[in-house]
Amino acid sequence: MSKELRDPRKTFGSAVFEAAKTNEDIVVLSADSGGSSGFGEFKSTYPDRYFEFGIMEQGVVGVASGLATTGKIPVFCAIAPFVTSRPYEMFRNDIGYMRQNVKIVGRNGGISYSDLGATHHSLEDFAIIRMIPDVVILSPQDPSEIENAVKAMLDYNGPVYMRIGNQSIPELFESKPFEIGKGNLIRDGQDVAIISTGSLTANVLDAAKVLEDKGYNPMVIGMPTINPIDEELIEYAARKTGKIVTVEEHYIPGGLGSIVSEVCSKTFPVHIKMLGVPKTYATSGPYNEILEFYGLDAKGIVNSVVDFINK
């Protein structure tokens, strides 16, 4: 695997462009957001399939719904809060309730728009979008997984929300076809199960190495699909380790941690430590420093996991 870091937005845009070469129904909608979403090549190659609307997120979600009724597969990507919390009712009614084949992609998700502050952070998107029935939620973890998730998203007939970041990220896994609803058992173990999603899985893998060095045997699970969640894998982790730590770039309540605890409560209840951002307007600054501040860097994850195991 290449050690080179890749921009998730460019990776995403290129993957849509590749799919669009063989699927003429794919159209891209932009709310003055296409260029930063990696759609430069798509726009220049398929100008008649690229629709610019200006800064108009509510309208664009409704338009996407209408376009989908005519057989198009609209892909709308913009800064995560502007495609989730701002047009929430349009997402709920026009996409979810109407069950339209629309792909909404929130980029710069989590706190990856670090220094731009809380207006541009998206720490509640999993929580609010998973309350819309039948919407698939994807949160791929590395560049190859983004590419494969884009293919799966475009092949799937129904509403999808995908979240990507904006910080360049490393390859973590061998490229393989993306299965919606499947988690990855990255490392088996028995002392604790660490379940993470999105690009933070890189930090979890670093943390796992440190934990190994310290003599622990952690299980590591990546969850690139938030909804529908891989209940079987969570139950396996709960039964085998009896202790779960969740790691996500999301508010502690409402996201992956809550989902895992919902699953465990009905299958095999265990103690769960949820790592994420407390429900506050997150601070701003350099991305890595914010992660460190909230204990989401490798060191912070190690400390939380060790404390939790020894409790």
Partner: protein, 280 residues
């Protein structure tokens, strides 16, 4: 347009109004005022203009009807039933558990419904996307929308109005059912959006102002605007809320109607008289 055709459409509108009352009778209450104000427009679209087939409700080349003001759904249900999209007996399930005709339309429950409207300010964006997609597919299909004047303050409408003009969607025809009343009183006093036509014109739309309860004006205006190219069209249709039931006309208290027995009987008698009169 011969006067016989107009008369026939007027009769159909009266039959549809009678169906609205039938639904209210079944459920005990409903959004009657707005359903009746737009009934003539909805009738003209379903029974004269729209290329639709009750036997093939999803045919790709069909024209689309979007009821942005979803609470007026009884008008659409009445037209769909009269047109043969579903058995009339379903009208008697209005307000009942699991009804295919809920208080706001659900496309997955009833053939002929194109969008799940009800939350106001959504229909025009959805319709804009439909019109854009149909144009791209070279379908020649039209998208007709009925909006309420009370929903015009929703900003999302104006996002869609800008987009529809930007993309020159001349296959999009919007009626503003301008009955001047909403649940809290007169629309001009609740939030004044006049002059509605000028606002649409400023956004780049072709506009017309008509009496929206006059069948001949409705038909002639759509015919005329359908010849115009390059811009979306907005028809500001001045209508009377509760039109067709004398005691409910122009009275905001009948926006949502929970009739007593006497009112119901009077309404039924009035509409039956019109239907019989026109049948002669």
């Amino acid at each position: 347009m011969e006067s016989q055709k107009i008369k026939s459409l007027e009769k159909t509108a009266a039959k549809c109004r009678r169906k609205v009352v039938r639904m209210i009778e079944a459920s005990g209450a409903g959004h009657m005022g707005g359903a009746l104000s737009c009934m003539d427009i909805v009738t003209a679209l379903y029974f004269h203009f729209m290329n639709i087939d009750p036997k093939n409700p999803k045919m790709p080349e069909r024209d689309r009807f979007i009821l942005s003001a979803g609470h007026k759904c009884m008008a659409q249900y009445a037209a769909l039933a009269e047109k043969g999209f579903f058995p009339e007996e379903i009208l008697d399930t209005y307000g009942s558990l699991h009804s295919k005709i809920p208080g706001h339309p659900d496309m997955h429950k009833l053939p002929g419904v194109e969008a799940n409207t009800g939350a106001l300010g959504h229909g025009l964006s959805i319709a804009t996307g439909m019109a854009l997609g149909l144009k791209q597919n070279n379908m020649g299909s039209k998208v007709y929308v009925v909006m309420g004047d009370g929903e015009l303050p929703e900003g999302s409408n104006w996002e869609a109005a800008a987009a529809a003009a930007h993309y020159g969607l001349d296959n999009l025809v919007v009626f503003v059912d301008n009955n001047g009343l909403q649940i809290s009183g007169k629309t001009a006093e609740v939030m004044n959006m006049d002059p509605i036509g000028e606002r649409f014109r400023a956004f780049g739309w072709e506009t017309a102002a008509i009496d929206g309860n006059n069948m001949e004006e409705i038909v002639k205006t759509i015919e005329y605007l359908n010849t115009k190219k390059g811009r979306p069209k907005a028809i500001i249709a001045h209508t009377i809320k509760g039109k067709g039931i004398s005691f409910a006309e122009d009275n905001y208290k009948y926006h949502y109607w929970k009739p007593n027995k006497d009112e119901l009987e009077k309404a039924i008698n009035e509409l039956d008289a019109v239907i019989k009169e026109e049948t002669k």
